[in-house]
Subunit: 698 residues, 2 copies
């Protein structure tokens, strides 16, 4: 078979062995994978991560160790990636400073000695990949997707190896058998993952791991009895002993002190060449601990001993870079501050924003900053000229020619911030009690809106009430309670704000993400606790149903005259309240019992991100914040059982009646009775007071 051109060394030679330095090749996906691991798993851990390098059956000037995303797999024998494996360690530093400043010489020595100690305990070696060790020093600048790195393949420079040519396998009778054996083993089957394999005169080529048990290879290594074994490896740099040997053979050579080798070259079976040699250390009994001089840092493109940098930003799509960058800011919170923060829950929360004014714009921005990407924004207005300076998603041009619709403009602007976000704008007016509609067209339109609105509420997990009137909050409050959705409400005064969550029960009508319910039962004395499902809504404190509040407003009352900070703070806190809450499910709220010891220093129970209040009332004039919690009111016009039951029965008809004023919320909620009895009581009380006053006088 003429095509196998096996050339053999003509003369038997011996001499000092030279080694050709290893080279490295880092596939981009190696750094991509590492970026993920660093951000999500390793975080601040600097202790080093085991990686696997691969030497491919390729034609190269010298042996090249490649690392790729699969290098982080813990098993060498991952058959999906062809090539011989070798063992490595990624030593990543957390700061550029420590990457630069670390003592490179000392690092090389300690890494090498640790490895050689492992090597001497041959019983720990199950795969010949364990016989080669490299390490990779790095600093990952994840903000810029730049990876500073330096490969090292440590080897002691003080040891001088000698070699003798071994012509045994080149003898004509052995040569053909040998050649067929190699072709079968290396080229016809899948390349073995092990870098070293054994040729035994009786058994032919085998993986080192197969031989360990069969032939007591350790004993053979340790003794001079090596006649039967050839330690075989692929060396792209050449096959004859005059050509420097691949660096990676130094490792097992040191372990064995005297070893018979079969050095194979040729990326294909056509190019196959091999030669046998015996390598040995002339001096005996080397103690690696006494070795001082180690080499092995890789040189850069210019042949200098310097680290290199891989910059991935150019090769990544801007979209995926943006996604990584946005997530990085959030994931870094988990490195040190809140390791158990569940970013996934936040990211997957679908938010419905009712209102795209100052509050709506700011809430949408804050949600985006927290990594929420699924939002629907509802508003019926158009951008007016006074809006852009206060409503942070609009520009002057949006307000020209009568103004663009707010809902769609806001969603467009949000996509300009994060093109990957799923934002929908819906131009729709929320039906309101006290704003009657005409029969016919008017009612038909309301039915259409109700169909859309109930659909939206069911499709989303969290509903934000960010409109500018009390009555526009009624319907979504009621529907939120009915469908068991978390409702976050924000309302503004001139220099004060209210941010609150509505209590909700997930049972029954909920279609969204079912949130776990907090079960922590103990909490400090001095506090009262209200479970998440028993908390009140925006209307629970009111004994008057919402009506048309815009009707008699003067201009300064209409225009939401408010200090700019108020909306900024309210919307920021509204989003934090949601983010904090969904880390814990439908968490309870607490309030300090008014008559408890004022000197009691016990703190309100808190969650992962701090306390999770029911409502926050802030004032920027006094810079005071009031945290309150109130229970659901049994006769609430929006969330009481009687209202929800009535809606369950009559659906749209009920709402249309309420809007048109043909039915009264006070009556349905049973507020009428309560109020009349209240006034009765008050009358009694007043007359009693009056009587007692009289008696005082007399």
């Amino acid at each position: 078979m003429q095509k196998y051109q096996i050339r053999m060394s003509d003369t038997s030679t011996s001499g000092l062995l030279k080694f050709l330095p290893l080279r490295s090749f880092i596939h981009n996906d190696f750094w991509h994978k590492y970026a993920e691991i660093k951000i999500d798993i390793d975080r601040l851990d600097e202790s080093g991560r085991s990686i696997v390098g691969t030497i491919a059956l390729k034609k190269e000037k010298s042996t090249m160790i490649e690392v790729a995303c699969s290098s982080f797999n813990t098993h060498y024998t991952d058959g999906s990636v062809p090539g011989f494996r070798c063992k490595g360690t990624l030593l990543n530093y957390n700061t550029m400073e420590s990457f630069k400043q670390c003592d490179k010489k000392e690092l090389l020595r300690t890494q090498a000695i640790r490895f050689y100690h492992d090597l001497m305990k041959l019983e720990t070696i199950t795969n010949s990949a364990d016989l080669i060790h490299f390490f990779l020093l790095s600093f990952a600048d994840l903000k810029c997707y730049k990876f500073y790195h330096w490969f090292a393949f440590p080897a002691p420079t003080e040891l001088i190896y000698q070699y003798d040519d071994d012509q045994t396998l080149s003898a004509p009778d052995a040569a053909e058998r040998m050649r067929l054996c190699i072709v079968q083993f290396l080229y016809q089957k899948r390349t073995p993952n092990e870098p070293f394999f054994i040729y035994h005169v009786n058994d032919g080529l085998k993986l080192l791991s197969e031989c360990i048990n069969h032939h007591n290879i350790e004993a053979n290594f340790r003794t001079e009895n090596i006649a039967e074994f050839y330690f075989c490896f692929y060396d792209p740099s050449g096959h004859s002993a005059e050509m420097p040997l691949s660096w990676h053979v130094r490792h097992p050579a040191l372990a064995a002190q005297r070893i018979k080798c079969l050095r194979i070259t040729g990326a294909t079976s056509n190019e196959l060449q091999y030669s046998g040699m015996t390598i040995y250390l002339p001096s005996n009994g080397t103690d690696v601990n006494n070795l001082v001089n180690w080499a092995g840092w890789e040189v850069d493109e210019k042949g200098k001993y310097l680290p290199r940098v891989s910059s991935l930003a150019q090769s990544m799509s801007p979209e995926s870079l943006a996604e990584s960058a946005i997530n990085l800011n959030l994931k870094l919170m988990k490195w040190r501050l809140i390791p158990s923060l569940n970013l996934d829950t936040i990211n997957k929360t679908k938010c419905l924003l009712l209102g795209a004014g100052t509050l709506g714009c700011n809430v949408a921005r804050s949600l985006m900053a927290w990594g929420v990407t699924h939002m629907t924004i509802v508003d019926c207005g158009r951008v007016s000229l006074s809006n852009p300076v206060r409503q942070s998603l609009y520009r002057y041009e949006d307000a020209l020619q009568g103004g663009k619709p707010k809902a769609t403009t806001a969603s467009e602007r949000l996509r300009e911030i994060n093109p990957a976000a799923k934002i929908t704008g819906v131009s729709m007016k929320i039906p309101m009690p006290g704003h009657p509609v005409s029969q016919g067209d008017g009612v038909a339109e309301i039915r259409d809106i109700l169909r859309k609105l109930t659909g939206l509420i069911q499709e989303h997990d969290v509903i934000y009430l960010l409109t500018d009137s009390r009555e526009s909050r009624w319907l979504p409050t009621m529907l939120g309670a009915f469908y068991g959705k978390l409702v976050i409400n924000a309302a503004l005064g001139f220099d004060s704000y209210l941010v609150m969550r509505h209590g909700y029960k997930t049972s029954g009508n909920s279609g969204g993400v079912k949130m776990e319910t907090e079960t922590i039962a103990t909490y400090p004395a001095g506090f009262r606790r209200i479970s998440g499902s028993d908390l009140g809504c925006y209307f629970c404190n009111d004994i008057v149903a919402p009506g048309n509040s815009m009707k008699d407003r003067t201009l300064d009352q209409q225009c939401t005259v408010t200090r700019p900070a108020v909306s900024n703070m309210a919307s920021a806190l509204a989003v934090e309240l949601m983010v904090s809450l969904i880390q814990h499910g439908n968490a309870p709220a607490y309030y300090r019992i008014p008559k408890s010891d004022p000197l009691c220093q016990e703190q309100e129970p808190d969650g992962l991100l701090g306390i999770i209040p029911h409502s926050i009332r802030g004032n920027i004039g006094t810079l005071q914040t009031m945290i309150t919690a109130t229970e659901r009111y049994a006769n609430c016009v929006a969330c009481s059982a009687s209202i929800l039951n009535r809606y369950a029965c009559d659906k749209d008809e009920f709402i249309i009646n309420i809007i048109n004023g043909t039915e009264s919320l006070e009556t349905v909620a049973g507020l009428n009775k309560i109020m009349s009895s209240m006034f009765d009581e008050q009358d009694v009380k007043v007359s009693l007071d009056f009587e007692s006053d009289c008696s005082d006088d007399s």
Copy 2:
């Protein structure tokens, strides 16, 4: 002189007098002016505003009363506007609802009766403009620049006037004299402002006001002795008695009950026609209080008795509409909430923002919302892909291809919000201690930056420190103190923020707006007070000079890992602090004396917009806010006298030495001595403690 074509009534007639309704014309500038007055002066006042209408010497079908911006002038005799004046009242309602709902019939009657009562007291009339009265009902929707309005010229419909032709002045001998007299009076001189004038057989034409004193006109009006006077007026609708008389003559007619008139028509002297008539009420002794039926509402374009709407938005430039709209939101604060708020001071404050990250973007937006239009933004960075979701002025596209420079991009985006704003972006790196520069080019660059930065600080009134490191705040803190500028500082933690103002002295180096110093000296017990100029700066609490803090930061420390709400709240409060402070000049700050009675309910002294703290430390995890005030530290590394004196002497050299570390801030500030003595004391204290511990044991 053939050109004066005076036609006279051929036959003497008499009969019932008909009146042609008045019409109105509102120039757009009337509403523009009123919008200003309403916003800035009238605000919520609904009591009515006197206005002046004008009847022009024009060819019209019927008499037209025009109102324009000059209608708000209080004097009739404003010669700059040609035309006959008449008296009016603008009755503006604060809500659309009250405009719609008011009883129009009753309003007409009460307005008319009030007017006629004035009319009967002829002594109050100094100008014949007082003899005509109209009123204008309106609702000004200043958000949309829409003005709903309805003119009325009240007149009693129950009274039936009769007339007799008066041919006296048409007699050939009188006619030519009369004609010349009118031509001179009306057409050759400037048209008189009075709508009625008097023709006296001896004196010729005179203004009514001139006659009042000369001829005891009142007595003549009241008696039948009217032979000598002709009551003259311009009536575009015609001159002969068969043609309906202009409505406006009904008013003086009612007052006089019997009156000789000269009715003149013709917009130019060529068209001049006139005729005399006597108007009288057949019934005697009318009491206006008994009159029930009044007419006078103007009809709309379609002839219906309905209000009309003037929409100015179309005719205004979008720029000026935007300016009005932005200011409206602010000016409405003065209507009810804070009438003495000085918006002008806010508007004129020039702000220098150092840093255009999350804080910079939000501060700029909040300033814009408060009406600040002059800003300069300094940043040396470029927009990165993680920025847009948190830094509210940038978009995804700004981060592509390596990112646009932040400073110029931010200013561009701000102009897209308000094109009238004067925003400048300066890409510049603030020199920092611990970040040395190379000799030569490096130092030359620093000198250039220092020249620019000191220029910017001198040109602005308020300096915001919004950068992301401690050391970048040193130089502007020092320069702010040196030039006596208000410095507002905001810094972020993961869930906490610090917002503070630096104390400053306006004396000496200040080049900007000199702010008044608060002089209120009394304040509640339980508080300590620190004057504005004695307050500390960001570095006053530190005993270590700033150095390179970025050097050893891990990624999560570098990236300002912070909950989104933190920056939103800090920047909002930073702007409110400035706005609140500049209402009062360099106001003092207060802090509660720690050992004061905890049950003392006294509140911290506040200003127009609430308390004006020195520093605000907020935490969004606990939702607590701490208000603190601290005094300037005599050995502060940034604002102490020794540092400022040193800068005064050595200027740039001092700063370059500090940056390069060849000189130590601790030494210049005298901190070194303090610290060594502190440690000495501590050593002593520790040993003393140890001793006392021992004695306890024994």
